[in-house]
Every structure is written in C-alpha cells, then in structure tokens.
C-alpha cells in the first residue's frame, strides 16, 4: 500500500471532491473537509504503528521513474523527523478547521483551499526528490495566498501579497540554486545529493562549473529557506500575514508551514552544504540570536494580540535555528561534543513539534477572543476575561504557560534540550538567548494580566460567552497533548532519537576550508 | 483592301461605338451595353485573326471567343444584379449618383 502517497493525496482528493460538487451544502462541505483533513492523523498513526525508529534511512519508500530524460523520480520516504511533522500536521490541521468552523463565507472554497494547502505541506515533508519537493513547496503558497487574501482581515490583501511575493522571491533563488546543482550533478534526489555531499563531491562538481558556483548555490538555497522559516531579519512578512489571516489559517501557518523552513534546513541545507554552513554559521548564529532576542522584545511592543503571537513564533523558531547553527558552528572546533549536539538536534525537533502545538493553540485562543469582541483584538480591548469565562481562561493559561516553556508542559523539554546543547557548543550565545526567555515571560504575562485579570472591561464587560462546543473540541485536545508531551516526552523523542544520533555520528569533523569570513 | 482589314475596321468601329456609349451614357444599363459592345469588338478581332491566319491552329480563336462570351454573360449577370441593388438603394440607376465607394 503506498502509504505515503495516500497521506499526501487524500487531502487533495478531498479538495477535488469539493471542487466537483458545486452544489454541496455548507455543513456537508465542512464535514467533508474535516474528514479529509483527519485522514492525515489516521494515516500518520498507521505509519507510526509500523515505524521502526532504530532502522537506518527512510522507511515506506516509494520510488518510481517519472521523467526519465531529466532523471526525475517520484521518490517519497519517511524518517523520524518527517513522521513527527506529519503527525503535527495531522493534529494541527483538524484543529485549525474546527477553529474556522463558524466562518460563514463559502466553506466549500475555504475547505478546498485548505486541503490543497495541507496536501502540499505534507508533500514537502515526505518528498525526497527536489523536483516534486519544490512543486509542493511552491504549491503551498497559492492556497495560502488566497486563504489570507479572501478570508483575512482588513489589511489582508497587502499582507497576502507581501507574504506571497517575499517567499516566492526567496524560493526563486533556491530554484536557481538547484538548477545549478542539477546541471553539475545530473540528479535532484536528496539522498543521492547528500551522499555526494558527504563525499565532498557535490562542491567539487559545482566548483568544476565555476569557482563561484558553490557559494552562490549555497546562498540561494539559504535565502529561500531563511525567508520561509523565517530567519531574522527576513521575517517582516510574517507578522502581518499571521495577523491578517483568518484564525484557522494562522494556526496552520504557524503550526505547520513555519516548520517547512526548518525542515528544509535540516533536510537540505545542512546535509548538502555542511562546510559552507559551517563557514557562515558565525553570522547565522548572530541572526538566529537576533531572532530570539528581538522577536521576543518586539512582541512586547505589539498591541495587536495576533501580531504578538506572531512575533513569539519568530522567537520560538529562532531557537530551532540557533541549535542547528550552534552545531554547525562548533563542528571541528574545540567546543564540539557529541552529547551536546545530540541534545541540540533533539531539542530542535521537539521544539518544532511543541511550537506547532502551543502556537496554534495560542492563535486559537486569540481567535476565540476575537470572535467575542466583534473582530477587535487589541491588548486594551479586553479586561477581566477570567471572571467572565473561567474555563477559557484556564485553557488559554495552560497554552500560554506552554508557550512560555513552563516545565510539566510540552514547551519546556525542547527548550531545555536546546539550551543544554547550545550552551555546550556556544556558551555565550546560550547566555544571551536567555534574554529571549525572559522577554517571552514578560510579554505573555503582560498579555495575561491585561486581558484576563483586573476588573471586567472592554469586550468582557458585556455578555461574554465562555468557551463551548466546537471551540472546546478544538482546544481541549491540544491542551491535553501539551500535558502529555510535557510529562512523557519520550513518546516523541523515541521517534527520532536514533535518527539524531546517526546525524551527529555522521558529522564530518574535518571541515573543508572556510569560504566566508567569520565574525 | 482584303477581308481581314475590313473585319478589323468593323471591329474598330464597334469598339469606338461601345466606348463612346460607355463614356457618355448616364444610364448604367446602357453603360453595360457599351462594355458588351467593346467585348464583342474584341471577339470579332479574335475570330478574324484566327480565320485569316495562314497556318491556322485548330479552333483556338473560336474557343477564346466562346470563353469570352461565357465570361461576358456572367459579368452581365453580376452587373445587372448590381444595377438592381443600386436601384433598390437610390430609386434610379444613374451612374453618376452611385459614388458611395469613393475613397
């Protein structure tokens, strides 16, 4: 059974069905969308059941000839990292759909675009040939663009254009880079390329075209991924896009799409260009640190709650990159140690998953607030919500503390491992990064204090429904998972621990000559 | 003066009569008639030259003339149709009035 193809294409089949049924009712369209979306979780669990974490390489591999003249294969495969992200997609997508359950404007088209988006994201996580990987990568932009522009807030058009053009521009550089790689090597298969890179042949072949090519290709791919993650300072598209998107789409964007960039870093950039990444890692480390610190401090200044959460995403994702860059930075230096690198990678993967959960849930909470206040979501538009809606306050509070990295909830383990790893590899960086932790606590608690505490004010001074029905169905599983993965992180770490271990054991400590100046 | 010259003189006269008619008449049908006369003058020439050729080719002149007569008949049909159309349009068939196709 082609399990991975099923995972990718069932949402698309759902989208086609919706497209083929123009007279379908709103309710039926929603249910159909939800079912197609839930398939990811179901199939992901099927994959989980027969997944062997300790087995090396990819599992459930599907490989068929596709375009023989270009040496393009239809190549899918699953390892611990992909599985983690497929499961995350499976969890976040239905929750996001439930969050947008009540939005009234043409649920058929909404569902159609959403499923298209979901399928594309899954394709990115599972494809192993650049050709269709890039198709999925770009295809995810189109539905996202329409979802933001058509269902978004007042500034949606501008935000959607900025999002689309910015990320597209980044990907264009990446496409050029891979065109160069194809010209030099004749293959676009990630596994083959990684093998070439491990033997040092990739750079050699690129350099054979022209001495300038390796750097140019590296920078092109880096730029494409950096915009997507986003790496500071390529993040300016993110706050408006997340803020203007409808709540479900914000959840998906932050929960799943932001992981595509980090995934790309781990799957493509780092295996293919270890030496170049190492050479640039001093600068990149500073940028990631900038994302950690400035992301958190910028969030402090936001009065729009969704923008605030968006900036917290910048901050959280920068931790992932910080860990990766720290490993790359220390490779071949005195500070390099295997346990610290393993901790850094494990932390990165955990952080990806946990951030997906908590940031999505946080957006959901803001969406619920927004739905009660008639679309306003300023920091000053609320007050004393905890009095008005105690259950909602409780769930939102747990979400907030999860995002803040409170032990016992999911966010802590990832952050601890990242700090443990980064401190072992680049102590000063870790020390400065704690500022980000502090600022995160500051702005989240300020948010909590202004919105939930104090006397009832603003939107909460009138009738304010507590969370119920569909909202509860969307929020409670997320919160339950926060507890689950906070207390039992081995449920996740066992999936990728062998993978991470093998990554670190394959790090080539002999780094070729640095080709970019170090700070 | 032999027969050929006589024939040519008659055809020339016929042509001139046709030309004069075509140039001087205002009635479109008469103009058409003038043109038919000129055509027939040409036909007469064909026949005459064929007939008095010292080494006549078999039936070339006659075939030419029959062709020309057929074409003239078709042309007359088209011309008369145009005349009817003009008449419908401007209630007369004065050629001077039919100037709509000017550039």
């Amino acid at each position: 059974m082609p399990l991975l193809s099923l995972i990718i294409f069932v949402p698309w089949v759902g989208a086609l069905l919706l497209a083929a049924l123009p007279r379908i009712g709103d309710g039926a369209a929603r249910v159909l969308t939800l079912i197609a979306s839930l398939s990811t979780l179901a199939l992901g669990l099927v994959a989980l059941a027969s997944f062997h974490p300790a087995a090396p390489g990819f599992q459930f591999v599907e490989q068929h000839d596709w375009i023989r003249s270009l040496n393009v294969h239809y190549h899918l495969g699953l390892d611990g990292m992909s599985l983690l992200l497929v499961l995350l997609t499976g969890i976040v997508s239905p929750a996001a759909l439930l969050a947008s359950w009540k939005q009234a404007r043409s649920p058929r088209y909404f569902g159609l675009l959403f499923l298209a988006l979901q399928g594309a994201a899954l394709g990115v996580f599972l494809a192993l040939d650049f050709f269709h990987w890039f198709i999925f990568w770009e295809l995810s932009l189109v539905p996202a663009f329409f979802l933001i522009k058509l269902w978004g807030g007042p500034g949606a058009a501008r935000a959607a254009y900025q999002f689309f053009i910015y990320t597209l521009a980044g990907s264009a550089f990446m496409l050029l880079g891979f065109a160069a790689i194809f010209a030099a090597t004749g293959t676009l298969d990630f596994t083959q390329l990684a093998r070439l890179a491990a033997d040092g042949l990739l750079v050699e072949k690129l350099a054979a075209v022209s001495g300038f090519w390796p750097q140019a290709v590296f920078l092109g791919v880096l730029l494409g991924l950096a915009v997507k993650v986003p790496l500071f300072p390529f993040h300016t598209w993110l706050p408006p896009a997340y803020a203007e998107a409808p709540v479900g789409v914000s959840m998906f964007l932050t929960g799943v799409m932001s992981k595509m960039g980090v995934y790309g870093f781990l799957r493509i950039l780092w295996p293919l260009f270890p030496a170049h990444l190492h050479a640039a890692s001093g600068w990149l480390l500073c940028l990631a640190l900038g994302g950690v610190v400035f992301g958190a401090f910028a969030a402090m200044r936001q009065t729009d709650l969704k923008r605030m959460v968006a900036y917290s995403s910048v901050n959280h994702l920068s931790y992932c990159l910080l860990a990766l860059f720290a490993v790359s930075y220390s490779t071949g230096r005195i500070g390099f140690t295997v346990p610290a690198s393993i901790a850094a990678f494990a932390g990165t993967l955990l952080q990806m998953f946990n951030h997906g959960l908590s940031a999505a849930a946080l957006f959901l909470c803001v969406g619920i607030l927004e739905s009660r206040s008639g679309g306003r979501r300023g920091l000053g538009d609320f007050g004393g919500v905890r009095t008005a809606a105690p259950v909602f306050a409780g769930l939102c509070g747990i979400t907030m503390f999860s995002s803040l990295g409170l032990p016992g909830l999911n966010g802590f383990v990832g952050e601890f491992l990242i700090f443990r790893g980064v401190f072992g590899l680049a102590p000063c960086t870790a020390t400065i990064a704690t500022l980000g932790l502090l600022a995160t606590a500051l702005f989240l608690l300020t948010f909590w204090q202004r919105v939930f505490h104090g006397p009832r004010a603003g939107a909460a001074s009138r009738e304010f429904r507590d969370v119920a029905g569909i909202e509860l169905v969307a929020l409670v599983p997320l919160v339950a998972l926060m507890f689950l993965f906070g207390v039992l992180p081995h449920l996740l770490t066992n999936l990728f621990n062998p993978l991470v271990t093998s990554w670190v054991s394959h790090i080539n400590p002999v780094v070729t000559t640095a080709q970019l100046p170090l700070p | 003066m032999n027969t050929l010259q006589l024939c040519l003189l008659i055809s020339s006269a016929l042509f001139c009569i046709g030309l004069a008619g075509a140039l001087s008449r205002t009635n479109t049908i008469l103009v058409l008639l003038g043109i038919e006369l000129m055509l027939n003058a040409a036909n007469l020439n064909f026949i005459a030259f064929w007939r008095f050729n010292p080494a006549p080719l078999p039936a070339t002149g006659v075939i030419f003339v029959i062709f020309a007569i057929a074409v003239a008949a078709a042309e007359a049909a088209v011309g008369l149709a145009l005349v009817i159309a003009i008449y419908r349009h401007q209630q007369n068939i004065r050629l001077q009035d039919a100037t709509r196709l000017k550039g």
Binding site: M300, G394, A430, T434 | -
Partner: protein
C-alpha cells in the same frame, strides 16, 4: 513503618492528585475539593513521617532511586528520588505546616466564590514544593521549582480582579524567573560538564566526590573554578526564589494574595526552596572552598548576600505599617540569616532555622490573617489596636510567635536556631562583617516585632472595624495553637543536645557554643525589645493618624525605609527602561529598518516597472504610432483617386488604352 525510596514519589503525587481533583471540580463542590486537599496533605504527612523513620535509620546514607525519563542519543536523561534526613525533615515540615494552613484556609476563605480553585492551587503548590524536596535530580528539582513559581503566581494573583494583585503576581513570576534563568544556565552547564544532573548516582552523581573534584580542578579563563561559576549561577535561582537582595522586590508585593497563601509562600515553602536548594547542593557550593588561589569562593558570595539581605530586610521592616508587609520584610531578613548561615559553612544551622522559622512565621502570618479576618480586612496596624482583649487566643499565640522570631532566650525555638547561625558566623575565618550585620539585624528584629505587637494588640481600637473584631472560630484558632506549641517544642531539636544537627550531618563536630556570644545576643534582644517598648508600648498611639515616633525623629531616613529603600523605583528606572528600550528598538528595527528595506526593494521593483512602462509607451509604441500615422496619411492621398464615379474610371481606362495603342504604334514596345 517506613517508606522506601522507590515510593517517595507518593508524597508529592498525593497533593498533585488533589490539585487535579480541585481543578476538575465545579465551583459548587467545595467539600470535595477541600477534603481532597486536606486528606492528601494528611496522607502526605503520614508518609513523610514514615520516610523520616526510614531516613533516620541510617542518617549518613543517601537512599536513591533513579530512572530514565527519556533516551537521548546513546545516553538518557535521568531523574530520581533521594531520601536522606534533609529530605525527610523538609517533607515533614512542609506537610505538617501545610496541613495546618489548609485547615486554616477552610475558615479564612469560607466566603470566597473561588473556594475550590483556591484549594486546587494550594495543593499544586504543596505538590511542587514536595517535588523539589524529594528530587534526586537538578532537572526534576528545576521542573518542580518552576511549578512552585507557577503556583505562587496563581495564588498571589488569586484575587485577580484587583489590578494590584494581578501586577504583584506578574512581578513575582518575572522577578523569580530572572533568577531562574541563572539557575537554568547553571544547570545546563553542570549537565554539559558532567553529563548527568543526578545528585547521587552510585559515585557518578554531581554531588559525589569524583564529580566535585573534576569541577573544581578545571578553571575558566578568568580564573574562576568551574564549580564556582556553576554554584553562583545556581545561587541566582535561590536569590530569586528566596527573596535575597537584589531580587527581593517581589516578596512584599506578594502580600496581595490571601493570607494563608502568604503563610504558605513566605513561611513554609516557596521562599524556603532557595535555602533548601543551596543546602542540597552544598557539597558543590563548598567544592572550591579549600582552594586558596581562587579569586572568589561561591560561599563567600552567599554569606555576604545573606548578610546584606538580613540587615536590609530588618531595616525596611521597621518602617512598614501594614502587618503583612512587616512580616514579609521580616521573612526577607530571616531568609538572609539562613543564607548567611550557609555562606559561613553551616548549612545545618540554616536548615534548623528554616524549620523553626517555618513554624513560627506560619504562626505569625496565620495570626495576622486571623486579625485581618476579624477586622474586616483592615491590615494597617495604625488603624487596629486593642485586640488583646477580644482576641485572646490569637493574641497569645501571636505573642509566642513574636518572641520566637525576636529570639527571646531559652524557651523559644527561634532563639536556638538563631544562636546556631550567629555561632557559625562567629567561627567563620574569612570575615566578621556578616556577624556584625546579623547582630544588628537581631536588635532590629526584636524592635520591630515589639512595635508590631504593641500597635496591633494594645491600646484602644483606632477604627470601627477593629472595634468590632472578635475571636475567630476554632477552625482558625486550633492551627494557631498547634503552631504555637511547635514554636516552643522545636527547641528540643537543639537543646539539651544538638540532635537535629547530628541527624543532618553526623560528621560535623560542633564544639559547645561560645557563652559570651550567647550573652551578647541575649543582651541585644533585650535592647531591641526595650527600645520597641519604650517607643511604642509605653506611649500608646491614640488615633490612626498620629505620627510615628521614629518618623518624627528621623523623617528622611524613615521615609526612605518606608519606600522600601526605593528599590522598585530604581529598577523601574533602570531595568524597566532598558527592557522597554530594547522592545522599542526591536519593534522599530522591524518597522523601519527591515520593513523599510523590504519596502525599498518593493519600491525599486515598482520603479523598474514604471521605467519599463514609460520606455514602452514613449519609445517603442510612439515610434510605431508615428510610422503607422504616416502610412495612413499617404493612403489617404492615394484614396482620393478613388472617386466612386464610374465614368471617371472608364475615362481613365480609355485614356490608358489610347496610350497603350500609341505606344504600340510608335514602336515603343516590341
């Protein structure tokens, strides 16, 4: 009956279970939530006693039970439980005092609509605190540590409708988190250096000799031993949690919570956690002590921070008017004493003081709560007074607590524990400054406690609420009586033989205390009491607005102290501004620099498009237009030939024919 170390987790798990029950109980289920919480605490107390029996069977043994939390690489992240006398004594103290506070809360919070939630948070707090105590792993300790922070956040902000309470809760969380970041860094450093965070692990734990030697031998480029640096970072966490200078600012504000919370946070648990942490990792703190060529020793820093805190807290307490704030600053001061004790090398004295202080400070806070409850939430002691008559039980028990805190000799436990600390400070060979600070604080403590009792209980009621006050029901007074009894009976731990000391640290040889130092401190206590009585007891305040005698004598100093030495203002002006500035910078960078750059690129693109369009329209298109215009005008000229007059055409044809004929005839065309 004993409790084996494998089952030690039951002690924190029971209150945690009660917290879960409380969280899921709807607000109507008061009885369920409260009884679950109290039953869990009682059960935990019984288990703790069993654990104590087990621990005292062999006081030198560190019984451990370690297990894997999750695999990481080829190794694993491991956690564990640790049972030794320190653990057991803390467990007994926390569960015992906790139970009494829970019972007291039944009465105190009786009318609150969020009654069930309160017991949920209290249980969570107790569970987290017990988690700290039983942990054999710095990581699990940190987890519980942060949960204690969360629970205190929830409890301090329990009356979250009040903006001050919400602000105080946030302040407490943020301030302690600053310290916790140091702790986090210390922890990851330790983990990085040793590959484990277990305290004891059959020779491989971080507090065992092999590890300590390794940490002490390696030094940093600045000359500090690694162990010193790690110790100091971990100490940062303790500074935050235990309200030490300079992170003490959250502690007085935490009084915004309900009074039982104040008792729980300030007496038995949260603030004690920092002292406990340093006592737990004492071998690490002490590792660098015998190295003389190091620039600084971790314990020296601890001692001076403790001494400064002890003196500062006592000074500020003198000028406060809110009962709970006086007690809060007295807590700050007493915690300073404990840190001082650890710093000068006697963690046993610190733990002894921690235990006695837990009882008498809980007693004082609950007594204050009793007063506040009776006086309809009037906390300003200038507006109270004359309560010794109507509130006899509260008064007597409060007086016991006050004398224990002030260190009235022989009968009260506070005297013995304080004596142990002063003795240790005297024996410290580095410096005597901490001793002098401590002695000054002793005078001040006796002074402000006398003032507190005199203002609150003596004289006439100075407000309507105080006049109506009457004794509280038994559910509130019985815990007071039990605590008061403990405040006296705990003297037996140290006298006539230093039993506790032997149980905690059997190796330590304690020479009999210097008699002269004891005499000196007794004199100082008497001095403090006398001065307090002279200023406040003899000339009783007659109305609420009468000036304070001390303020009349030293107005500027008093105002400075009343404003808590302006720490809040100082921090707002420095760190507050700095963080706001950073935030503004980050936001501005985004809005103007990065956003501006992106927009600039976009504008450049748009500009390129504009140029392209202009070039198309004015260059290429205009050229084509001009050519086609020319062609058309030429065509117009030619079209004049087409007159539409058929005769004209015929004429031209005729003319052409004539020309043709002429050409032929003249021989022009062959």
């Amino acid at each position: 009956m004993t409790l084996s170390v494998q089952h030690l987790w039951l002690i924190p798990a029971l209150p945690l279970l009660a917290a879960a029950i409380g969280a899921l109980t709807p607000s109507g289920g008061r009885t369920l939530a409260a009884s679950a919480a109290i039953a869990a605490m009682v059960a935990a107390f019984v288990l703790s006693c069993c654990a104590l029996v087990a621990a005292l069977a062999d006081p030198t043994a560190n019984l451990t039970y370690n297990f894997t939390w999750f695999d990481l690489g080829t190794g694993a992240v491991r956690l564990g439980w640790l049972l030794n006398p320190l653990t057991a004594f803390m467990c007994v103290m926390v569960t015992f005092v906790g139970t009494l506070i829970f019972v007291f809360s039944l009465g105190y919070m009786h009318d609150d609509e969020n009654f069930t939630r309160f017991f949920c948070f209290l249980s969570l707090f107790a569970a987290a605190m017990l988690g700290i105590v039983v942990s054999n792993s710095l990581l699990f300790l940190f987890v519980s540590w942060e949960l204690v922070g969360l629970a205190s956040y929830l409890l301090i902000g329990f009356w979250f409708q009040k903006p001050e309470a919400a602000a105080a809760a946030k302040k407490a969380f943020i301030t302690t988190r600053i310290g916790d970041l140091g702790l986090l860094l210390g922890m990851v450093w330790l983990y990085h250096a040793r590959g484990t965070l277990l305290f004891f692990d059959g020779g491989a734990g971080v507090l065992e000799p092999a590890s300590l030697t390794a940490l002490m031998v390696s030094t940093l480029s600045c000359g500090l031993a690694v162990s010193t640096a790690i110790s100091l970072l971990i100490f940062c966490g303790a500074v935050g949690k235990s309200g030490q200078f300079p992170l003490h600012v959250w502690l007085p504000d935490a009084m915004e919570g309900p009074t039982p919370v104040s008792a729980l946070i300030h007496a038995a648990t949260m603030v004690a956690a920092g002292v406990f942490l340093i006592a737990r990792i004492y071998p690490l703190m002490e590792a660098d002590y015998h190295h003389h060529n190091l620039p600084i020793h971790a314990l020296t820093v601890v001692a001076f921070i403790g001494a400064i805190t002890a003196l500062m807290g006592a000074l500020i307490a003198v000028a406060q008017n809110d009962i709970k704030r006086v007690l809060a600053f007295s807590t700050v001061s007493q915690l300073g004493f404990m840190m001082l004790a650890i710093g000068v090398g006697s963690w046993v004295a610190a733990i002894f003081h921690l235990l006695t202080h837990a009882f008498f400070k809980a007693l004082l806070f609950l007594g204050a709560g009793s007063v506040i409850h009776a006086a309809h939430h009037e906390q300003d002691m200038r507006k109270l007074g004359g309560l010794s008559g109507p509130m006899r039980v509260t008064f007597l028990t409060f007086a016991v607590g006050m004398m224990a805190l002030a260190g009235v000799p022989f009968l009260f436990s506070g005297f013995w524990s304080k004596e142990a600390i002063l003795h240790a400070a005297h024996a410290w060979d580095v410096s005597h400054i901490p001793l002098y600070f401590g002695l000054t604080a002793v005078v001040l403590t006796a002074f402000y406690m006398t003032r507190l009792v005199a203002e609150t209980f003596f004289g006439k009621p100075r407000s309507h609420a105080a006049g109506l006050a009457h004794e509280n029901p038994a559910v509130m007074t019985v815990p007071l009586v039990i605590l008061a009894a403990c405040a006296i009976l705990l003297s037996l731990l140290a006298w006539p033989t230093p039993w506790l000391q032997h149980q905690l640290d059997p190796q330590a040889h304690t020479e009999p205390g210097g008699l002269s130092l004891m005499m000196l401190s007794i004199v100082l206590v008497a001095l403090g009491l006398g001065a307090g009585w002279a200023l406040y007891g003899r000339l009783l305040r007659t109305n609420a607005s009468a000036p304070d005698p001390l303020a009349a004598a030293l107005p500027r100093l008093h105002a400075f102290l009343a404003a808590r030495m302006m720490f809040d203002e100082l921090y707002a002006a420095t760190f507050g501004r700095l963080s706001n500035g950073l935030a503004a910078l980050a936001d501005g960078l985004d809005r103007y620099v990065w956003g501006g750059l992106v927009n600039l690129v976009a504008r450049l693109g748009q500009f390129g498009g504009l140029v392209n369009r202009e070039a198309d329209e004015d260059g290429l298109n205009a050229g084509f237009d001009a050519v086609s215009r020319k062609v058309r005008s030429v065509g117009q000229i030619y079209s004049r030939a087409q007159t539409g007059e058929t005769h004209g055409y015929l004429r031209v044809i005729a003319l052409g024919f004539v020309v043709l004929v002429l050409l032929v005839m003249l021989g022009g065309v062959r």
